[in-house]
């Protein structure tokens, strides 16, 4: 009989709407990161590096990019005879067909998948954080404390604790209380959204709460188990962990990779991060190009100037172009003499020549001031920007734009041009 000690369930179905136009056509875990990777690569690489070789990836929102990226799991060595990676979308049933209505509901709908592997423990993960973590150490902690549930937690600065789900523990690490975004935090241990459940406990709770609308781990399953006296422990993680849920944090964590010795180091042999590499030739740096503090992916061609930026594979920066404090993702082209300041350019975009993005006065975004902020210009996947236009700060552009979309060749700060994608 098939037996896996621990299997992982990776929640990758959310849109991640705070990433704005970046997630117009793909789920957040599929967004590229760090000049080569996609966000989900970190969780998948952590799994295989921790010896977890059975991973169910739950998809729902715009899964095409994720499906093609993961395939049968070859880049992560997750193509296995027994186990490996399985993509688990919502499916039609004879009765009660529904979408995944919440994190726990999604897991509940895949009880049969988990039962097939006969696990002792189930690891629940999100696909939207940048970190390197040995889940086996968490499992050892879980066993040593004879826990029913172990939450991975990370100490955060006390003044920021009110933005997180905070746990309060006793001296042996057992959680006594939960506080969701407390105004007056009594602890600085934040939940990372990573749980190890003893399988029986998880199964019982999922079945018991199966009628709960929008059943969610944080809101329903954990409180239910806590109420029933289950042993819930906090594992304290002290490495680099970054939630890239907002455009600003996404931009910041990309920029952190450029530091001379980055806090989050991709160059260590130990604990490699794997990804599907579609572009493998070396990059070409032309005569007259200038690059100062950057990471640049395979197959890129740099003819212009790049300062303090993350440039993805296959990107072309043409002559005279200046890219500063920006992220340019896979396959995009920045035309001649264009200037980019603090831009996030998604995959396969074409920026024309003599374009200026991210110039002018600060002005809050008129549509979603909390998403498009901090002076960033965000350009969605596959967008085209015509020659000789300029755009201000806190702007968003998505789709094929023409000169008519830019009155007087100018998109003022805080304005948007949205011509494609499912946005709400």
């Amino acid at each position: 009989m098939i037996k896996k000690e621990m299997i992982a369930m990776l929640l990758a179905g959310g849109q991640g709407s705070r990433l704005g136009v970046l997630t117009a056509n793909m789920a957040k875990p599929a967004v590229t990161f760090g000049g080569k990777y996609r966000i989900i690569d970190f969780a998948l690489s952590n799994c295989i590096n921790s010896g977890v070789d059975t991973v169910g990836v739950l998809t729902q929102y715009q899964p095409l990019k994720l499906n093609t990226h993961i395939g049968i799991g070859i880049p992560w060595d997750l193509d296995r005879n027994v186990g490996g990676v399985s993509i688990l979308p919502p499916y039609e049933k004879s009765t009660n067909t529904e979408w995944y209505t919440g994190t726990a509901n999604a897991i509940y709908q895949n009880l049969k998948y988990m039962e097939y592997y006969n696990p002792d423990y189930v690891l629940i993960l999100g696909g939207d954080h940048i970190y390197k973590m040995d889940y086996e150490m968490v499992l050892d902690f879980h066993k040593a404390h004879n826990a029913d549930i172990t939450l991975a937690t990370i100490p955060v600065p006390m003044e920021e604790a009110s933005r997180f789900g905070i746990v309060i523990t006793n001296e042996e690490g057992r959680i006594t209380e939960f506080e969701e975004k407390p105004k007056q935090p009594r602890s600085n241990l934040a939940s990372m959204g990573i749980y190890i459940f003893t399988w029986k406990v998880l199964k019982e709770a999922l079945i018991e709460l199966s009628e709960q609308p929008g059943c969610d781990f944080g809101k329903h399953i954990i409180p239910y188990c806590h109420k029933n006296g289950k042993r819930i422990f906090a594992y304290e993680f002290n490495g680099y962990w970054k939630d890239v849920g907002t455009l600003t944090s996404y931009w910041e964590s990309n920029m952190e990779l450029i530091d001379l010795v980055p806090v989050f180091n991709l160059y260590e042999e130990f604990w490699k991060i794997y990804t599907k590499s579609e572009i493998i030739p070396p990059q070409y740096i032309a005569p007259g190009a200038y690059i100062e503090k950057a990471i640049i992916g395979e197959g890129a061609e740099i003819y212009g100037q790049v300062f303090n930026s993350v440039i993805g594979p296959g990107v072309i920066i043409e002559e005279g172009a200046i890219v500063r404090d920006s992220i340019v993702m896979t396959g995009s082209v920045v035309g001649k003499n264009s200037e980019l300041y603090k831009c996030i350019i998604a995959e396969n975009c074409t920026v024309g020549s003599n374009v200026k993005l991210g110039v002018g006065e600060e002005s809050p975004n008129v549509w979603k001031p909390n998403i498009y902020c901090d002076g960033l210009v965000t350009v969605g996947e596959g967008s085209t920007i015509p020659d000789h236009v300029s755009a201000g700060k806190n702007t968003a552009i998505c789709g094929t734009t023409t000169p008519e979309d830019f009155p007087n060749n100018w998109l003022p700060s805080g304005e948007n041009i949205i011509k494609a994608g499912e946005l709400n």
Binding site: G34, I273, P281, P282, G297
Partner: protein, 367 residues
């Protein structure tokens, strides 16, 4: 054919077979032939290795990179083995295939493409096969007419009649009689090949070119199939250096890197290249996993190279996984893979010669 060594590669071949030589930053020589096979829908490929095969076997540890992990066909690696009938190494190209004749006999595919593992080119073997069939040829030799003025005396030179039938062929001639060179790719019917090899083997003849193509040129229909696309082989230090430098030309790197179909290679999972303050790079290829703090001009840097502060690299080829200590100056060199170069070193290839740098220093002493 990936078993060969070349003394003209000097120290570079101490470490690996020519077919395993790193090329163009991210590849090894054999990737070009293997990718051509895969892209030409040749599904069953045998690689014959003999000389210094460790690097090559490591590179071929999985067939998935070239899409050969199939139920039909696949990638076969044949090292010489001792059998009750045979205790010899591969004594030549024909002998290498003859020793694996059972593989050919038990196959069912009607044609065989024989290709050398040291050519850098893109080619659809299917087109050559079509030509072979239309010409009713017994053997087709793929050739390229080299530009006037090229020194072709290190190649096999082919002379043809007006129908492109080969009338003369000479290996590494003292005086060239034509500019048409064999690129080391042959097409032949499988049964024909078996027959010729059995005959050659019984006469103790071991060389494919000398004992089969040249010997039979008057009794068999042997045709030349010309290609006019990029081709180079890397059998000497100079040609190896020049081939790598060719990839700095826009037309060459666009042709190999951007035009369909792709060239495939083993994936190494290196992070993107990192440019720190002090890095100044011009007209160079930089591969994944590099960390740059110094000046790089007109050079090809392979994977995972660390360039220290105040380093200058000019007109050089730096192979995989090299660490270059601070204040080092390198010009007109090929630096062997996994070298660790001490700070304050100077290596210069003088008088237009290319210097091959092989140094072994303790990796952890670098400051």
């Amino acid at each position: 054919m990936a078993g060969g060594n070349s003394t003209r590669m000097m120290e570079l071949s101490n470490k690996r077979a020519i077919a395993a030589m790193p090329v163009a930053g991210s590849y090894r020589a054999i990737d070009f032939a293997l990718s051509n096979m895969s892209n030409s829908h040749v599904q069953k490929v045998a690689v014959l290795t003999q000389f210094n095969a460790r690097s090559l076997n490591e590179h071929l540890s999985s067939s998935k990179w070239w899409d050969f992990g199939r139920k039909q066909g696949g990638l076969f690696v044949f090292n010489p083995t001792i059998t009750p009938d045979n205790g010899f190494w591969y004594r030549g190209t024909a002998d290498a295939i003859a020793q694996n004749l059972n593989f050919l006999k038990s196959s069912h595919e009607p044609y065989v493409v024989i290709a050398s593992g040291d050519g850098v080119y893109k080619m659809d073997y299917g087109k050559a096969l079509e030509y072979h069939i239309n010409k009713h040829a017994d053997i087709t030799v793929v050739t390229k007419v080299m530009p006037e003025g090229t020194d072709v005396t290190r190649f096999g030179i082919v002379k043809v009649d007006e129908n492109n039938r080969i009338t003369e062929m000479e290996e590494k001639p003292l005086v060239k009689k034509s500019n048409r060179v064999s690129i080391g790719v042959y097409i032949i019917r499988r049964r024909q090949l078996i027959e010729l090899l059995e005959k050659a083997s019984s006469e103790n003849r071991d060389d494919l070119v000398r004992d089969i193509i040249i010997r039979y040129k008057d009794v068999k229909n042997i045709y030349a199939y010309d290609i006019d696309s990029y081709w180079n082989n890397i059998s000497t230090v100079r040609s190896y250096y020049d081939t790598n430098m060719d990839f700095l030309k826009k037309d060459v790197h666009d042709y190999f890197f951007k035009e369909y179909p792709d060239v495939y290679s083993k994936i190494d999972d290196n992070p993107p290249a990192k440019f720190n303050p002090g890095a100044k790079v011009s007209n160079s290829l930089i591969s994944s996993g590099c960390i740059l703090n110094g000046v790089v001009e007109n050079s090809v840097l392979f994977k995972k190279i660390y360039v220290g502060n105040n380093v200058t690299i000019k007109n050089s080829v730096i192979l995989n996984d090299v660490r270059i200590g601070d204040n080092t100056y390198i010009e007109n060199c090929i630096v062997e893979s996994r070298d660790t170069i001490k700070p304050n070193s100077t290596y210069i290839g003088e008088n237009g010669n290319i210097k091959v740098v092989v140094v072994k220093e303790d990796r952890y002493k670098i400051g």
